[in-house]
Amino acid sequence: MNDDMDFKDKAAWDAADRVADYEHGWSSDIETDFAPKGLTEDTVRFISAKKNEPEWMLEWRLKAFASWKTMTPPDWAKLNVPPIDYQDAYYYAEPKAKPKLGSLDEVDPEILRIYEKLGIPIAEQEVLAGVEGARRVAVDAVFDSVSVATTFRAELERAGVIFRSISEAIKEYPELVKKWLGKIVPMRDNYFATLNCAVFSDGTFVYIPEGVRCPMELSTYFRINAENTGQFERTLIIADKGSYVSYLEGCTAPMRDENQLHAAVVELVVLDDAEIKYSTVQNWYPGDAEGKGGIYNFVTKRALCQGRNSKVSWTQVETGSAVTWKYPSCVLNGENSVGEFYSVAVTNNYQQADTGTKMIHNGKGSRSTIVSKGISAGHSNNTYRGLVRVAPNAEGVRNFTQCDSLLLGSLSGAHTVPYIEVRNPSAQIEHEATTSKISDDQMFYAQARGLNAEEAVALIVNGFAKEVLQQLPMEFAVEAQKLLGISLEGSVG
């Protein structure tokens, strides 16, 4: 598994090196497929030029880049991350840098085994594994047929829903983008968010007009150019008054990426009586059993519940990445606005996760619910970190927080770090936390009924995480259940 990763890494790096080596005197030649190694103002200009961005966007990126140079990475998380050399990475490379595979026969059998366990159709497996020429087939597989995809698009347009890549939106809907981009997560919010502002590759833009209930669940699957945007993804979703949308992000299949550093930004805006349900399954490459390789995932996700009775529900299943640093949050400005955070984070082997949420109660009568389920196995560390803040003039705020940790084996760590800042005496804040281990009794009981050790662990863990899993849309939930079991393979016996 690891060898394959190394091979892919090397092939990609070699290809990129060749291009870079031949490109002496490079400046911002938009004919070039690669920005050379390193991060300078030229890199930022190059990315912007490649995307034919308007001047205001380039200026915004450059401003972010200038800020980023003065910033330092946060060090408060319970994560042990080796220093990242930002000059020793590529920030823009065309998809062709990836080694192309002729067929599934060339894919790592380990990956295929997991695809099979997840029940992913062959055509879709080909896309995920990056088999050349597979994409059209997979579009068929995912949508049944191209015409279905077109039907979806037409249906969305009839409803007035705008669903575009962020690059397209910048050109087609500059006023909407300008109005909200960087307003929920400010440009200088944190080191990784600022980096994203400067170099974001692509992402999703959604606008749901007033009073519209989006006629289908939106998924990155439906977006044709979702490929290769994983590294510095940028998402902006705007739910206008009285609208509703459910958005699915990610994929249960294991995702390989040659880029070790990921720094995404997701911004949600919710106006009066509107609701966004945002579900994520994150399964980036976690590194091998010895902790070698794997993705560093530094994500900033924040929702602005600006309107009265607005609501945002974050649901996440985090099983991948070597390092996860992620706190999907809600700024509850609107009166009676509602924020929810449901999370399952699994760490195995040498994975590290520091994840949680922030619920910022500024609005009167705003309410929030936090349910976090952390599962740690192997030598991993799993931390819940969450903030509940109540502003002085926010009357009648309520929060309920439940943080449960489940430990497998005796070498893993579970940590809970709740921050509670209440400046209004009328607030009702509840916090419950438990830490438990899978007991030998439970394991043996399940085994005596016919389940093998891995099936027993998967069953018990799914029971533990049920409250969160049942928040997921149906089609995601089934795969996510299988995923929990797969992620914990090798953690028992």
Partner: protein, 279 residues
Amino acid sequence: MLQITNLHANVGDQPILKGLTLSLGAGEIHAIMGPNGAGKSTLGYVLSGRPGYEVTEGEVWFTPHVFPGEGRGPEPKTEDSSAALDPGLRRGTQGPINLLDLEPHERAAAGLFLGFQYPVEIPGVSNVQFLREALNAQRKNRGEAPLSGAEFLKVAREQAGALGMDMDMLKRPVNVGFSGGEKKRNEMVQMGIINPALAILDETDSGLDIDALRIVGDGINRIMRKPDKAVLLITHYQRLLDYVKPDFVHVLADGRITRSGGPELALELEREGYRELAA
């Protein structure tokens, strides 16, 4: 069906079973009685393969599960049979296998069922889900096709109904918030659904009131009193034996069988106590 010969087993460094020999034939119900600490529960755990219970000497041979009639799936496909962990477990195989070679889940697939003295809670997992996954894992190991949700629910409903258990309880998390009696009744529902060849029932009568005792006793007779099945009842008291008539009664004391006899032995024990008879 089950032949235990000179079985020695330790828990940690402590020898608990010290040369136990016992033979169960098909169609037989055996009761094992004995004082606290004699090794009764250990015997159940050793036979079902609980980690931490180490066999130091002896043999256990078991004639695996053969499903007559219902529950018989289609013939195993080639790839299915390769999925079976042990070729000896496949349906239709005749002759005894060495039980001690098998993992706990393989023993279950071979047709061994342990009714727990203290049934375990599994939060968040419904009884229905637990049993369906367990049953289908067993079937997979035997090279049989899985039961669909509808097929499974039909069986589950029948068994729960026969034991007077509400369908709602089947949907609740495994044993969570169940009373002692409900847990024991749930074990019997599980046994009915799994339909094993050999059941080892560890103090299934403890914690039951008179009515529940009768229901559980009837359940054991209904599910297990068959020519191709056998039961090993581990109990302290005679009262369960009023409902489930054993063919043989054994006294287990200090890690071995010290006395065997017919149903009258249980009555004698009840009268005289173990002290007199164990020696």
